[in-house]
């Protein structure tokens, strides 16, 4: 059996930055990952948006940290993760959307977010060529942006390696030894690992992992398809989000990455529950026609590749961060609801501080100021609300 200070299950958007942060603070960290390399679960399917403009204090706080971390990786660590503060633009083409955005704006501004209403001229200037007929304007948050999930994951992996994180790839968790409400060790297909603290960062498989100790974690993945185009000269800045639903889809969003490629994604209607990663024929015609309706200039942009990934959903659309009753040393960082990439870096920092500060079930925030985060995202909340800006 191998022993260490902390075992993290999952080398993905959440596990990687957490491992690095903890190792950087002196902990001996082992990361168990069933895939052959890092970021092969939901990270590789993430499209790359990072925004602090959420509707609740915990996510706002976490993502602010994420932006601070990701935006400084180049200058501070020498890794170009293709971060760009292009901003997020939620467009409004009808009264209903305008009213909803303006209402949300009050909350967002009240917590000090850098976001404001922009008129249609400003929208057209940010995204030249966007359809301006019946465009009412939108909300724009210039501090938000995007980065490459692939490059960011590679960066955190490398930073973790440099700090001595022991990554165990190709190892899947087989069983968990639980004694007197505490995990003693985790057995994989290759070895057994013991530690005082274990973290579940298993993304779409988080509920299966928790199930090994009899816990019922309300994390259910649903499937989303995404695509990327050829690279072209920069023609637009922000991540554009259109939340209007139609018969076959909910919201869709796209942005032009630093490489010049446009990355896009759509929420299917109804949701497709499960872990299906296979492409369907419906996605491209559906997503492309919605994008062209909004942005006819994209008609000549060539789609290069498509893929499909999971959003590990919770009933209320908010992550689960905290301890389980079944095992007092099993910290959950799960149910990111498709936002693991933007939440991961900040969460890694916050959780590492909490862990070092003596985090435990009765006081998950440790000796730090993050009580509200753990309070809001705990596993035993009512799950009766609904995230407004999913």
């Amino acid at each position: 059996m191998k022993s260490c200070d902390l075992v993290i299950i999952g080398a993905g958007s959440v596990g990687l930055p957490l491992a690095w942060n903890c190792a950087a603070k002196g902990l001996k960290v082992i990361v168990l990952e069933k895939e052959a390399s890092w970021g092969r679960g939901q990270n590789r399917a993430a499209i790359g948006g990072i925004r602090a403009t959420h509707s609740d204090p915990a996510k706002i706080r976490i993502c602010r940290e994420s932006i601070a971390i990701v935006s400084s990786l180049k200058a501070e660590k020498g890794f170009d993760v293709e971060w760009r503060a292009g901003g997020y633009l939620y467009v409004a083409y009808d009264e209903e959307r305008e009213a909803a955005f303006r209402k949300l704006l009050l909350i967002q501004k009240s917590v000090g977010l850098d976001i404001d209403w922009v008129n249609s001229d400003r929208v057209a200037a940010l995204a030249p060529g966007i359809e301006t007929r019946s465009l009412r304007g939108g909300t724009f948050s210039p501090g938000d942006g995007y980065a490459s999930p692939l490059m960011t994951a590679s960066c955190f992996h490398k930073l973790g390696m440099d700090k001595g994180v022991d990554f165990r790839f190709g190892e899947s968790v087989g069983s968990i030894r639980l004694e007197c409400g505490k995990i003693v060790s985790i057995k994989t297909n290759r070895d057994e690992y013991g530690a005082p603290l274990f973290v579940n960062a298993a993304g779409a498989e988080a509920a299966d992992i928790a199930g090994l100790i009899g816990a019922d974690l309300p994390v259910h993945p649903d499937c989303h398809e995404a695509g990327v185009t050829e690279p072209v000269e920069r023609f637009m800045e922000p991540m554009i989000v259109d939340i209007r639903p139609d018969n076959e889809s909910g919201n869709y969003y796209f942005y032009q990455a630093n490489t010049g490629q446009v990355v896009f994604c759509i929420t299917p209607r109804p949701q497709v529950w499960g872990m299906d990663k296979d492409n369907t024929s419906n996605f491209l015609p559906l997503c492309a026609s919605r994008m062209l309706e909004l942005y006819p200039r994209l008609r000549n942009l060539k789609v290069r590749r498509t893929w499909r990934g999971m959003y590990p959903m919770t009933p209320d659309g908010f992550p689960i961060v905290g301890y389980l009753r079944e095992a007092e040393n099993f910290l959950q960082a799960v149910g990111m609801c498709g936002q693991g990439f933007m939440l991961g870096p900040g969460l890694g920092k916050i959780l590492s501080e909490a862990i070092l500060g003596g985090s435990r079930p009765s006081k998950p925030e440790g000796s730090t100021e993050y009580g509200f985060v753990f309070e809001e995202l705990q596993a035993y909340r009512k799950f009766d609300g609904m995230e407004l800006l999913k």
């Binding site: 692939l150 590679s154 185009t229 000269e233 062209l292 498509t306 893929w307």
Partner: protein, 702 residues
């Protein structure tokens, strides 16, 4: 203009319209409808664009729609030059960095869904796909046949040489492009077959639907019960310093330009690889009036048929065995190539280096199956099968049988009771056989009557000489009991008609007879321009390419069906049975520079062409990171380009072996296999013609 105006085998199409176009402001002329890449090659343009990463000049590589290296700006839009037809007044520009997305000129014109269905989707209309389609249709199944080229036939279209095999089963002795026409007309006459030419299949999806980019303009979804993938093969790239320079391209690209489009893109070529593709490319070059400095082969034996190699050698092309290209360089395009012998570990022996002045290096280092749609279909649990090169790289003749067999297997999967003609299996087996033994032959002493002399001694599947002989005086001597056996003369009844000489795909049969003590007559096949008259002295060579004598031409006879001329020569009696061919190119064409040029430090070998990632960059990354999964290389953009890792994925195992490492998990393949614009994906503006379908003879829209 680098146009081939007279060719011994192919005639330029009639009635082509000449049009004007510009490239980077220079005015040129080309033919309407021809591939822009060919029009540019004819205009002498080899560097098309400069790469966004480092500004390196980019030329064509596959000329086959697969690799994207020929992307240029056509009337403001980024397009692959090799699959975009030329039109009057086109404004072509090299791509410098990233393309600019044009501003919107109109609001969205609305989406139009196009959907058809068929029992079987056949991907690829080459020999295997066409043969399969015929069988499927015979069984009453509806078929959608999609092929990415405008003319069906696959690579047969580019094959100007005569085919091996047997006449009865697979058109042996007939030239590839003639076989393509026969197969295409057969398929086009079938009512339950919807042919979508010029229409690549760009994705197979989980819901048992494939996306087809019809005419490179519309996106049609095809719902199918089963899929037969006969998508052929793609040429493997090769790693050598300078492999990214314009002028380094596939032998298939070369054949496309030379044989299909009658363009002469090169003056002198060096060929890498001595498989049949490389050997035939050399022959096609000579026929097109292009010099061949040589063929290099890293193995210690020729990889293709011996008769093909003999043919090249006796025309004056050296084959350098155990030799590899160590660098290719030049200012903006290929100007020189340096080769060297290699040791047993394939390391170059620099003291053996020789530099040749060539403007083109043809890569003919083997093919890899285009089977990714098949693998994807299997993953999805569809009824699926492969045929032809997508199943196994082999000759077109075996692909015809393979296609038929796969079609019946697929019909069985669909629940049909079918009888498989057992002889097909054995025929395919024979046709796809690797060459067998090399046997020795007894020397022939010319007599007063005509007699065939065979210079083939390697067992390959081929028998046209026996079937065309009107007196049945040529037989296969049974050893293996198949058409692999070698032909022999029965010893009587040769009338000297030369049908065997004209039909032999290997040009390995001559007829000889003694005239008197001193002289003999020899008839041999000639597939070059006949721009000389009887009385002319021609340089006669033996099988090894050794000069024998200047022989006087007595007569020339053109055989219409095999499109071959038979020359009758007056040859001294002692050389008569050794006479094998006529030198086509001067020795000067194959001379190296007085000294090898090792002083020119060449650029690094490029592994990922789309993103221009060099071997050095990959090595460096692999040394700094433990690579278990080639997807990790996406961090340095390997496999992220327009070709969807289809070119580089076959090179990674090779590079890993050379680094002494175990293979890693493969790169993930996802749709689309070819880029499609968003407007085309939704068939913008076609909603008004609701119900209209490109595939009007299909079963219509569900």
């Amino acid at each position: 203009m680098n146009r081939i105006t007279s060719h011994p085998i192919v005639s330029p199409p009639d009635g082509r319209r000449e049009v004007g176009f510009s490239f980077d402001g220079q005015i040129h002329r080309g033919y309407e409808g021809e591939a822009i890449s060919s029009a540019l090659a004819a205009a002498g343009v080899s560097a098309l664009s400069s790469h966004a990463k480092d500004g390196a000049p980019q030329g064509i590589f596959c000329a086959n729609g697969q690799c994207s290296q020929c992307t240029i700006i056509v009337d403001g839009l980024a397009r692959k030059a090799c699959v975009t037809p030329l039109a009057e007044g086109m404004d072509l520009r090299g791509l410098k960095g990233l393309p600019r997305l044009p501003e919107a000129s109109a609001a969205f014109g609305g989406a139009g869904k196009r959907r058809i269905c068929a029992d079987v989707l056949v991907v690829g209309g080459g020999p295997a796909g066409l043969a399969a389609t015929v069988e499927l249709a015979k069984l009453g199944l509806s078929v959608v046949l999609a092929d990415d080229k405008a003319s069906l036939g696959g690579k047969l279209v580019l094959q100007t040489h005569k085919f091996f095999g047997s006449e009865a089963d697979c058109y042996a002795g007939t030239r590839g492009f003639d076989i393509a026409k026969k197969l295409e007309s057969e398929v086009r006459a079938l009512p339950q077959v919807t042919v979508l030419a010029n229409s690549p299949v760009v994705g197979v999806y989980k819901d048992r639907v494939a996306g087809i980019y019809v005419d490179y303009r519309r996106y049609v979804l095809v719902e199918f019960r089963a899929i037969l993938v006969a998508a052929g093969a793609r040429e493997k790239s090769v790693l050598f310093p300078g492999n990214g320079l314009p002028g380094v391209y596939g032998a298939g690209a070369f054949q496309t330009m030379v044989n299909r489009d009658l363009v002469r893109p090169a003056r002198r070529v060096l060929i890498v690889g001595s498989g049949n593709v490389g050997l035939i490319a050399a022959y096609h070059a000579l026929q097109a009036g292009i010099e061949v400095a040589g063929i290099v082969e890293i193995l210690d034996k020729v990889n293709g048929y011996e008769v093909h190699a003999d043919k090249i050698v006796r025309m004056g092309v050296p084959i350098h065995l155990r030799t590899s290209v160590i660098s290719v360089e030049g200012e903006g395009r290929v100007e020189r190539a340096t080769i060297a012998r290699v040791d047993e570990k394939w390391r170059p022996l620099l003291d053996t280096a020789r530099t040749y002045e060539v403007d083109t290096v043809l890569v003919a280092a083997g093919l890899s199956s285009c089977d990714e749609l098949y693998r994807q279909a299997l993953d999805f649990g569809f009824l699926a099968i492969t045929a032809g090169d997508a199943e196994e790289i082999a000759e077109a003749s075996s692909a015809i049988f393979g296609g038929r067999i796969s079609a019946l297997s697929l019909a069985r999967m669909l629940g049909q009771k079918v009888e498989l003609d057992e002889s097909w299996l054995s025929k395919r087996e024979v046709l796809r056989s690797k060459p067998g033994d090399r046997l020795s032959r007894d020397p022939v002493l010319p007599s007063a009557s005509w007699e065939p002399v065979f210079s083939c001694r390697e067992e390959i599947p081929c028998n046209p000489c026996t079937t065309v002989c009107p007196t049945k005086s040529i037989i296969l001597k049974p050893r293996l009991g198949s058409i692999m056996d070698l032909p022999y003369y029965t010893g009587r009844d040769c009338k000297g008609c030369a049908a065997c000489v004209a039909a032999c795909p290997g040009l390995a049969v001559t007829l000889v007879r003694r005239i008197d003590e001193r002289w003999s007559e020899v008839m041999l096949a000639w597939e070059f321009l006949v721009d000389f008259a009887p009385g002319k002295l021609l340089p006669l060579l033996d099988k090894e390419g050794t000069f024998l004598e200047e022989a006087e031409l007595l007569k020339k006879t053109y055989f219409k069906r095999p499109r071959t001329t038979v020359l009758t020569l007056k040859v001294s009696a002692s050389n008569a049975t050794r006479a094998s061919g006529i030198r086509v190119q001067d020795e000067a064409a194959t001379a190296s520079l007085p000294e090898a040029r090792l002083d020119l430090f060449p650029e690094e070998a490029i592994l990922c062409r789309c993103e221009r990632v060099s071997v050095a960059e990959i090595r460096e990354y692999a040394e700094a990171n433990e690579i278990r999964d080639w997807n990790q290389l996406k961090s340095i953009r390997v496999g992220m380009g327009a070709c969807g890792s289809r070119t580089c994925s076959s090179l990674l195992p090779q590079l890993w072996r050379s680094m002494g490492r175990d293979a890693a998990a493969p790169l993930t393949l996802r749709p689309l296999s070819m880029e499609v614009s968003m407007g085309d994906l939704v068939n913008e503006g076609s909603a008004t013609q609701a119900g209209a379908s490109d595939a009007s003879s299909g079963r219509g829209e569900p």
